[in-house]
């Protein structure tokens, strides 16, 4: 059948265009606008070109924040993905415990992010918090508000506690969708438990794990709320990740130009890395 072309069809698309323009394109363009201009107040702007971009990219402060960000993201990915898969494997596949396990697993995901930060802040306080007190009582010199190492430890522990559940739920969904016949076939072949995991469960979970890695990657790159409540980027700048740094520049110092330039760079990094991740994993899929 021949499709008839009718330009009036565009009218159907217009509402979406208007909506996207208002909630995404126009705000983004405002940021682009700030990033290439300089102002001394009074709403007077001067053209600044790529000055802010150069300044941000060359500043040690940005490079350090980016490095910390990458360290954080890859650490939590390395912990959360294997841990999530391991927990999903031990969860029951049927029976009365399934809903119980699922609800328990979903619980951390339901807690508001600033509450998670506040909870862990109090939990880890060395003088009154259960975790902080216990660690000190056990002989560890633990103080996350003073020692950078302890701050990182607490931050990663909090993120693992908060977000491993997401990986567990996704991996579990992948696991329960494997037909029973696969396990029987493996049993008949005499396959060992590890072979079952390597050749049946892992390949069958591949798709959901791709999604899990991608989601955790993006979300951890954008972490702000929990971190800002827990450490606020301290002690010193030791846990100042990109988002914290951005807010400090934009709202603390009110440097609109550099902040706008940094936002765009930040956004492009996430976009680029997500794209690279996705392409690599999809190419693997095809091979």
């Amino acid at each position: 059948m021949n499709k008839t072309h009718d330009n009036r069809a565009w009218l159907f698309v217009l509402p979406v265009v208007a909506l996207v323009a208002f909630n995404a394109i126009i705000p983004l363009m405002t940021v682009v606008n700030y990033s290439v201009q300089e102002t001394f107040g009074d709403n007077v702007f001067f053209w600044a070109g790529v000055m802010w971009f150069e300044q941000v990219l060359q500043s040690e402060r940005f490079q350090d924040a980016l490095l910390r960000q990458l360290t954080f993201t890859f650490t939590i990915l390395l912990i959360e993905v294997p841990l999530g898969v391991a927990i999903a494997l031990t969860m029951p596949k049927k029976g009365p415990w399934v809903p119980v396990c699922l609800v328990l697993m979903a619980l951390p995901l339901l807690i508001p992010w600033n509450v998670v930060g506040a909870m862990w802040n109090i939990f880890a306080l060395p003088d009154i918090g259960l975790l902080g007190r216990s660690l000190n009582a056990l002989g560890f010199d633990y103080n996350f508000t003073r020692q950078p190492g302890d701050a990182w430890f607490t931050l990663i522990l909090m993120d693992v506690w908060h977000w491993t559940s997401l990986v567990v739920l996704l991996a579990y969904a992948g696991l329960v969708s494997i037909p029973d016949a696969y396990y029987q076939a493996a049993k008949i072949d005499g396959a060992k438990p590890f072979a079952v995991f390597r050749y049946i469960q892992l390949p069958k979970m591949k798709r959901v794990l791709t999604i899990a890695v991608l989601l955790r990657f993006m979300d951890s790159f954008m972490i702000y709320t929990e971190l800002s409540v827990l450490t606020g980027g301290g002690p010193g700048n030791s846990t100042t990740l990109l988002s914290i740094d951005l807010v400090k520049i934009a709202l603390g110092q009110f440097d609109l130009g550099p902040a706008a330039a940094m936002s765009l760079i930040y956004f492009l990094i996430i976009l680029l890395l997500s794209w690279v991740f996705y392409t690599l994993m999809m190419r693997n899929e095809q091979q």
Partner: protein, 355 residues
């Protein structure tokens, strides 16, 4: 080696999945488990394989009690309705996988996979992944995996059910050839009586977890031991007529009666059930004892050379399958003829009475 079930049953709580069953499969035999969905075919196979432990009775293999022996230590292979292959292995590795576990040396693996692939027409696809194959090729791969290890017992659980018509026909023709020169026991589950008849061998009719009859396929088809077996082993479904014999006549429902002559004369007065296969009911009189029945047409299916007419007669739903085109209008009343000389007679409990 023969497979023997001695009073094997399976219960879970108050539910009986398999009633105690006695069954002997001879070495090198082709056995068919025939039954509708949920009749217990898969469960029966799991019990035979050792994937499920019976709650009653014992399983014997080659004169040895293997009831509690894990499937890992029995030489069993199985093909499923879904196409089960290792998703990220090549076809070659898939076929080789059962041999890898048993530590066969590489040259031998290569030789056996090659033979198997040749037999199942998979040779050009050995380096592909299962996801790159058609459904038929995926199932062939699964079959090659099941056959490559020379199992003593090969279980095929509706292996053709998920294939389209043409592929099904093709694989169905190949199957007997694959097992022709093997001395393993083959058990083949199917819902289709036609498949059972095509494969021959032995057939066990399964109904609600009970083996109602077991014997050579043609024998089971021709001489069902009871009404249930006749119903399981008939497609389209066998026509049932509850009749009462009084003297020289059978009364069927309100207003149909026909003479109980010839072999029927020997029957005592009382209630019986007659079973007449669809191809013995036709729009025109045929056979040795055609009896007219007046029906109300429900559906008429016309294929190229055959008419299948569904109709109600005396409250029963009947099917007539006959040669030629008989375009009976739906909703009309029509007279058809049942050849009573071919009727099977069952008593009040559904047991067959030979006449």
């Amino acid at each position: 080696m023969s497979l023997e079930l001695r009073g094997v049953g399976l219960r879970a709580g108050a539910d009986t999945h398999i009633h105690p069953t006695d069954l002997v499969c001879e070495p090198g035999s082709f056995n068919i488990l025939l039954g509708t969905t949920l009749a217990g075919k898969t469960t029966m196979m799991k019990l035979m394989a050792g994937l499920e432990r019976p709650t009653a009775g014992t399983v014997w293999f080659g004169g040895r009690d293997v009831t509690g022996v894990s499937v890992r230590r029995r030489n069993v292979s199985m093909v499923y309705q879904q196409f089960i292959n290792y998703p990220n292995m090549s076809v070659y590795e898939n076929i080789a996988s059962p041999l890898r576990v048993t530590k066969v040396d590489e040259a031998e693996i290569k030789r056996r996979v090659g033979t198997m692939a040749e037999l199942l027409k998979l040779s050009p696809m050995l380096s592909r992944r299962p996801s790159e194959l058609s459904g038929g090729q995926q199932q062939r791969t699964a079959m090659a995996r099941a056959l490559v290890k020379d199992a003593d017992l090969v279980l095929l659980d509706e292996p053709l059910a998920n294939l389209d018509f043409k592929l099904r026909e093709e694989l169905r023709d190949e199957l007997p050839r694959l097992f022709a020169d093997r001395d393993c026991i083959v058990v083949y589950a199917t819902t289709e009586p036609v498949e059972a008849l095509l494969f021959g061998g032995h057939t066990a009719c399964l109904h609600e977890g009970r083996v109602t009859q077991f014997g050579p396929t043609a024998e089971v088809y021709r001489n069902p031991s009871d009404l249930v077996s006749a119903q399981v082993f008939s497609e389209p479904p066998i026509n049932v007529a509850p009749v009462v014999k009084a003297g020289e006549t059978f009364r069927f429902g309100q207003d149909t009666a026909f003479p109980a002559s010839g072999p029927f004369a020997a029957l005592a007065d009382g209630a019986y059930t007659l079973g007449i296969r669809p191809h013995h009911v036709a729009p025109t009189p045929s056979g040795d004892n055609p009896v007219p029945v007046d029906g109300h047409v429900l559906v008429t299916e016309l294929s190229g050379s055959e008419s299948v007419i569904h109709f109600t007669v005396q409250g029963e739903t009947w099917v007539s399958q006959s040669h030629g085109i008989h375009p009976f209008e739906v909703g009309t009343d029509q007279r058809l003829y049942a050849d009573m000389s071919k009727a099977l007679v069952f008593d009040g409990d559904g047991r067959r009475i030979e006449i």
